[in-house]
Symmetry: C2
Subunit: 315 residues, 2 copies
Amino acid sequence: MSRHVIGVDLGGTNVRGALFSENLEVRNRLKRPTHREEGGYAVVDRLVALVRALCNEAGTSVSNLAGVGIAVPGPLDVTGGIITSAPNFPDFTNFPLKRLVEETLGIGVHLENDANAAAYGEFRQGSGRDAHSLIFLGLGTGVGGGIVLDGKILRGAHGVGGELGHIILAADGPPCGCGNRGCLEQWASATAVVRMAKEALESGEPSVLAGRESLTAREVFEAAGGSDELACRVVARMAHFLGLGIVSLCHVVDPEVVAIGGGVSESVDLFLPRVRKFVDEQVFPAARGKIKITRAELGDDAGIIGVASLVRNAG
Amino acid sequence: MSRHVIGVDLGGTNVRGALFSENLEVRNRLKRPTHREEGGYAVVDRLVALVRALCNEAGTSVSNLAGVGIAVPGPLDVTGGIITSAPNFPDFTNFPLKRLVEETLGIGVHLENDANAAAYGEFRQGSGRDAHSLIFLGLGTGVGGGIVLDGKILRGAHGVGGELGHIILAADGPPCGCGNRGCLEQWASATAVVRMAKEALESGEPSVLAGRESLTAREVFEAAGGSDELACRVVARMAHFLGLGIVSLCHVVDPEVVAIGGGVSESVDLFLPRVRKFVDEQVFPAARGKIKITRAELGDDAGIIGVASLVRNAG
């Protein structure tokens, strides 16, 4: 019997999936638009079709799979397989995704928060493969987080463990979508980098970024790479708060590895040296110089590798 | 063979110990001054004498004990049994306490950070005895912390896990002894309550606390209990930041129980309702109303019960 596993990442824009071999290597991949505007049931249909297509391509059948893992945004009830609240999927509030996919495909489905899945992928096959504990920070539109301790994802008693974008670093900082102020997400996300750049540009200070109609985090990082003073200051500020967040997290979790992923991690060379220096100076002495802070290694694949590994280890 | 266990709390002022029965009930207790100014070896001698005296009183001998647990301040290397840095015991930096006591007594010794020990005690016999996860916050001169997940203390990869007094809540807040600013300890400790009261008194605002030569946190809480406006504001501020800290911790650990201990917890009625309300409003929706925030139940005994339980569970 085949022990193939499929991992799927249910994103706001695309559904991405891969079929994994016995030893968790990617056999084949597919990517299709999510079209979340069509509603939850339509998305389930598309997800199921993607799983079948992956099996067809690989010359196997769904019934031969060990299971399907799905990485989904937002906090969820892993045991019940229910997305409790997904900011980008309003249709999916209290949506029984696991049951629907299981009933349609007739095999076991494991749901996992996407950042937890990425953390687990990095722990198993990426930057944490030689470690016992890892924190993952996914710096994108928001900041996702995941914690793996002794091989287990720290999901918490109510599924909100590892929501690391929402640790509070500045009680009077910018308001956050979660209802608090000054969360890590308000300093270390792509959105935050753009906001800080726009705030700085308002002073009229000269910068290659001045006068642009729209602005992306990538442009701010490019400008910082080109030594634009304003952009460098914004990136330094982002690095400072990312460092504060990591120090704070080390005083709670004290992991062996901190893996930085997400789109912003493409520009990691511009801020990681500063973050490392800050953490090594500001963390409790016993941990100084001992925490590996690094770019996540698996890129966009961390989530699907993570859920595939979870299915494998459960099977 | 007796399965008695001794738990000892090595405090800055006193060494407190108790001998526990098979089922971890206190048989007898002793308390003696630490006299830390006499140095590490003198303290070891006193600790050893205390253990022997507890055995004598109980009509048993040291060789009949299942082991001795010692709760000590400061981060430590639990495996090696070495206190790495104890702010209140400068003599004890890299001090091999476990080995020295083991060699002298000829039985196994388990060392644990005092706040971790208190967390474990609360988890086993106190406010967390029916839960799977607990965070302990000891609000005293400083703020100690401990995390228990699925019956295990989260010590971290370098022994600085659960140092919850040093999560950062206000990046530009008051400087902290740890080298950062705005740590939880700077808002929720007895020291912080006194500092905030003194700052408020400087404005000349009338208060029953005005003009006192020295001021204690207890006096501030008493004044707040008597509806002194300035004192009430200070306690509200303390409660606000304690709430922020708990929200932040829930987004990392998401425990079933948050137990508030330490001297400040005697005044828990004056701030806990506010803290609970804040957390229930500000934590992620999936956890609202579900996290039990409560006064720790074991008082000063949490640490000795915790280390005794650790010895029992290891034996």
